[in-house]
Symmetry: C2
Subunit: 345 residues, 2 copies
Amino acid sequence: MNLKQLSEKLGLSPTTVSRALNGYPEVSEATRMRILAAAKEHNYSPSAQAKSLATGRAMTIGHVIPTSGATEMVNPIFGDFIAGAGETYAAAGYDMMLSTVHRDNELYAYRDLAARRAVDGMIVHAPRLNDPRVDLLRELELPFVFHGRAPIDDKSYSWLDINNTRAFERATKLLCDLGHRNIALINGDETMDFALRRRRGFMTAMEAAGCKVRAEWLAKGEMTESFGFHTATRMLGLPTPPTAFLVSSIIMAIGVRRAIAAKGLRMGRDVSVVTHDDEISYLKNGDTEPVFTATRSSVRDAGRRAAELLLAQISNPSADTVQELWECDLTLGASTGPATVLART
Amino acid sequence: MNLKQLSEKLGLSPTTVSRALNGYPEVSEATRMRILAAAKEHNYSPSAQAKSLATGRAMTIGHVIPTSGATEMVNPIFGDFIAGAGETYAAAGYDMMLSTVHRDNELYAYRDLAARRAVDGMIVHAPRLNDPRVDLLRELELPFVFHGRAPIDDKSYSWLDINNTRAFERATKLLCDLGHRNIALINGDETMDFALRRRRGFMTAMEAAGCKVRAEWLAKGEMTESFGFHTATRMLGLPTPPTAFLVSSIIMAIGVRRAIAAKGLRMGRDVSVVTHDDEISYLKNGDTEPVFTATRSSVRDAGRRAAELLLAQISNPSADTVQELWECDLTLGASTGPATVLART
DNA sequence: AGACCGATTCAAAGCGCTTTGGATGTTTGT
DNA sequence: ACAAACATCCAAAGCGCTTTGAATCGGTCT
C-alpha cells in the first residue's frame, strides 16, 4: 500500500493525504480524520526512502563504532550509550545507523556515510589524540557531536564529556587522604583523550600530596578484565608494590580484584581500589553498598543527552556549538580503606 | 554532486554513468575508466535513498535490540554480536539499522521498520517462550533469521543457535564426574528460550547421575554480576549449600566468584563453577589457562554467520530455510575441582 | 449583485537514482 | 556492397513521496 493507492481508495489526491498525515493545517478536520483512519486500517506508513528523497533529510543518525586492537574489541560502554541515544532518536522519529569498523580505518566509514547522504548527523565515539575526525566532519559538513573531546577542546564543535581530570584528581586525593602514597594507575589506552586527562588528574593530585609516581606503577592498555588482572598481578609482585589502585574501568577493576584475591589479599583492607564506573546496566556496582569506591557517571544518560544535542544542532544548524562537561560522583564503596592497615601486610 | 551533474561534467548521459558505476557490461572500458576516475575525483557516491527508491531495496538490515527489566538492561553480548554481523554487512554493502526497545513493546518496532520499508531483513534477538515474532515477521513478509530459536524449532524459519541443552548437559556431567552431587544452576530469565534449554540439559544430566535437584539450588533472573553475587551468597548460606555452580553467563559467574570469595572460600577448590562463555571481547576468560571452566561459543562468530544466512535468504528468497546448531566447546579452567576436596570445608 | 476571501483540494514538478526500449555507429558475414 | 549483428550510448519513464502554485467553492463585504 502506497500513498497513491491510499489516496485513490479515499477518492482524494495524494497531496491532501500527504498533508493530512504530516499535520499540515490546510485540510479539514473531517477529511483528516477519515485519512488517518484509513491509514491505520491499511497499516500505511510512508516509505522511508521516498520520504527522505523528497525531503532531503535522511532522518537517520550515524554511529561509527570503533573496534580496537587485534581482537577487535568493542568497548562495553557502547551498548548502554546506544540504548540511551536510541531513546532520544525514537522519540524524535529518527533512526540509528551503526557501522562497526576498526579504529585504524574508520575515516572511510564517515566519508562513506556522508557521501551517500545516509545520515543527517553523527555521534563521534572515543576521541583520540590529534583526532582527525574533527576536521573530517567539518569538511563533510555534517552536524556532529563528540562523546568526549578531542584534545583541542575549543568551542568550534559540540561535545559532551565527563570531567575526567577532576574525577581522577579527586579519586587520587581520596586515596592520599586515606594515607596511601604508593598508588598505581591502571589506565586505558593513552592515545585516547579520556585516558590522557585521567592521567593528568592523577599526576596533579599525586604531586599536590607530595607522592612520588613511579613509572612501574603506571599502566595503560586495553580495558579488559584480563589486562586489569595481569597488570595488578605484576605490580603486586614488585619490590615496592602499590597499596592502592586507581583504575579506569569497572571491567579492569574486576580483573584487579581477581589479582588481589589471587595474592591472598583482601580488597579494601590490604589493598584499596578506586575505579571509574560508567553504570553499565549489567555491571551495577553493588546494590546497597557499592562494591567499588568509584568515580561515577551514567553513560546511558550521556547517550541520551548527546543525541539531544545532535538533534538540536540538526534542526538549527546556525545555532552555537554546545559543550557540556559533566562532573562525576565520587561514591564510597567497600574497596577502599586506610593505608595504615595495609602497612601491616 | 549528483549523478546528473557528474554526467554533465563528463559529457555523458546519466544512464551510461550509472551503468559504468554499477558494473554493467554495455559500456566501453575506456569510458568506464573515465567515469570511475571522475567519480573518485569528485568524491561521488550515489544517494542511498535515491538508489533504494529506484531499486526497491533498502540495502539495510534491521536489528531490534531488546532491553529488559526495570533497568532497561542491554545484554552484554550485543556489542560483539553486532560487531560480527557488521563485518558481514560491510563486506556485502549493507547498512545496519538499530532500534533499542523494551522487550515489552518491541513488536511495534518490527512493524514500523517493515511498514516504512526501511530494511530488507531482520535479525531477531533473544527468542522467548511463545515468541510472537515468528508469526509477526512471517506476516510482514520480511526475511529474518533468529539468533537462537523460538521454542517451536521447526524448519519453517531460519535460525542459528548453540546447542544449549547439550552444552549444559555436558557441563553438569563434568561436575558430577568430579564427584559433585549438590549442584546449583544460576540461569537467565527462563522465559528466554536458551535458558529453558539450559535448564533442561542440567536436569537431564542430574537425573542421569542420580543427583537430586533441590528447588533452592535453582535460580533464574537478570544476567547481571549483581544477581550472580546475591544468588550465590544466598545459596552458600543454605543449610545444605551446593558444592558447585553452573552459571549461564560469565558476568554472573564473576558475581558468583565474588560471593565465594566473600565467604572466605576458594573457587576451584572449595566450590566449583562452570559458566557459559560467549567470548565477549573485553571479558576474555583468561589467557593461558581459562579462569572459568566453561561451555564456550563465540557470539561474534554467531553474528557474522547469522548475517550471512540472512543475506543469502534475501538474495534468494525462494531457497529453503536454514537451521544451524553449533556445539559448544567445553574448556577446562581453574574454577573446577573434585568434590572430595570440598567436603573438607 | 459583483468582487473578494478564506478554506479546501488538486495537478504537476521534482528529489536522485535505475532501467526499459530504442537510437547510432561499427563490424562482421556473405 | 548490403544486411545482420554487435557495441555503445541515450531519452524517458518510474520508484513513492513532498511541495509549489493554482483551481474550486461557498460565504462575506460593500
